[in-house]
Amino acid sequence: MLPHEKELVERLKAEPFALLGINSDGDAETVKKILARESITWRQALDGDTSGPWATKWNVNGWPTIYVLDANGVIRYRDVRDAAMEKAVLELVAEAKGG
């Protein structure tokens, strides 16, 4: 997951694409350490723990849980990972640029 996500973020940095991490590891200091250790650069939401407000509202019961949204904010895929996630993202990026 993680190496692939990093590679995708790097490759698509000039494209209309954003990876947003909703993190359940704890407070800012804890998360900062993890981000530094793992060289994670993309935007994070500090959701606290697995009962955090975002995870609770979106009824997240398993981790990782992934939603892929198009440029209009419409949910287009759920729970795609790795190659399937990349395929979804590339298709939607092409759609966003085409439209």
């Binding site: 997951m1 993680l2 190496p3 996500e5 990093k6 494209e15 209309p16 694409f17 954003a18 990876l19 947003l20 991490g21 909703i22 993190n23 359940s24 590891d25 704890g26 800012a28 998360v31 993890i34 981000l35 793992e38 060289s39 935007r43 994070q44 939401a45 500090l46 959701d47 723990d49 697995t50 009962s51 407000p53 975002w54 995870a55 609770t56 509202k57 979106w58 009824n59 997240v60 398993g62 981790w63 990782p64 849980t65 992934i66 939603y67 892929v68 949204l69 440029a71 209009n72 904010g73 419409v74 949910i75 287009r76 895929y77 759920r78 990972r81 996630m85 993202v89 990026v93 966003a96």
Partner: protein, 269 residues
């Protein structure tokens, strides 16, 4: 680079889900709830067996977390205790037949038989046939949440319906109806989805104030599923959400309109 401690799905299930019910304390609690007097030596045997399993598991997890290479991690995970404990739990279940300890032991047999469908389902069948009156069945309803990946949804749905209809315990019926809703919502059949919604609505009406997990109630938990059903399906505009990043900077999902967005709920914890 590749040292994410909590790898995707497979290991998450092993390290995460199994951790919840695996304490000897839970065994005590469930028996206290049941209010039946399982012969003390059976209960002690079960407790010792669970303890041994948990200790072995903790050792593997500790070693896993200390490992530095993928090869090492893979080797350590291969030593995770599991099916090797099934014969002991099954023997205890047969020895203690008819008691709540037997019911507990069958739940362990099911839990540890991920690779052995027939054994896992034999445990479920035995629980339904011999222990339907037991409060321990509450634990089975939780285990059945993910059983459709192994057994297909049909037998799991039938088992849950039977529990909803036949258990004398409100807590067990609440758990079964809730799990039934979750399994039905994941079904590919559109009619099942509608029925899943009905289950959650019934959970709210009939068992809303009952405790779910931690501080939560069945109402809150069921409302989560109904919200997901109404707002988080493919084709729907993702609902707005606001949070702060690690530097305290607030941001919201709609800030990213115009971009393709992957929302990734993650963590190492």
């Amino acid at each position: 680079m590749r040292n994410r401690m909590r790898p995707p799905i497979g290991i998450g299930l092993v390290l995460g889900l199994l951790a919840v019910p695996a304490s000897a304390q839970d065994v005590h609690k469930a028996q206290a709830v049941a209010g039946q007097s399982a012969p003390a030596d059976f209960a002690k045997k079960l407790e010792a067996l669970v303890q041994r399993y948990n200790d072995e598991r903790s050792e593997v997890i500790t070693a896993y977390q200390k490992a530095t290479t993928d090869e090492e991690r893979a080797r350590i995970l291969a030593g995770m205790p599991g099916a090797g404990y099934v014969p002991e739990f099954r023997a205890l279940a047969q020895e203690a037949r008819g008691t709540d300890t037997a019911a507990q032991a069958w739940i362990w047999v099911m839990r540890l038989s991920e690779e052995d469908k027939a054994t896992a389902w034999q445990a479920v069948t035995t629980l339904l046939e011999e222990h339907m009156q037991s409060a321990v069945i509450a634990e089975l309803t939780g285990e059945l949440r993910y059983a459709s990946y192994q057994h297909g949804e049909k037998p799991v749905i039938e088992a849950l319906r039977a529990i909803v209809d036949e258990s004398p315990h409100e807590k067990v019926r609440a758990g079964a109806l809730f799990t039934l809703g979750a399994v039905l919502l994941e079904s590919k059949e559109p009619t099942n989805k509608q029925e899943g919604r009905n289950c959650f609505e019934a959970v709210i009406t009939e068992y809303g104030d009952q405790p779910y997990r931690g501080d939560s109630t069945y109402r809150k938990a069921a409302e989560g599923f109904l919200y997901e059903l109404d707002h988080l399906q493919v084709g729907m505009v993702a609902p707005e959400f606001e949070s702060v990043d690690e530097n305290g900077v607030p941001w919201k999902l709609s800030d990213y309109r115009g971009k393709v967005v992957v929302v990734d709920f993650w963590g190492f914890w």
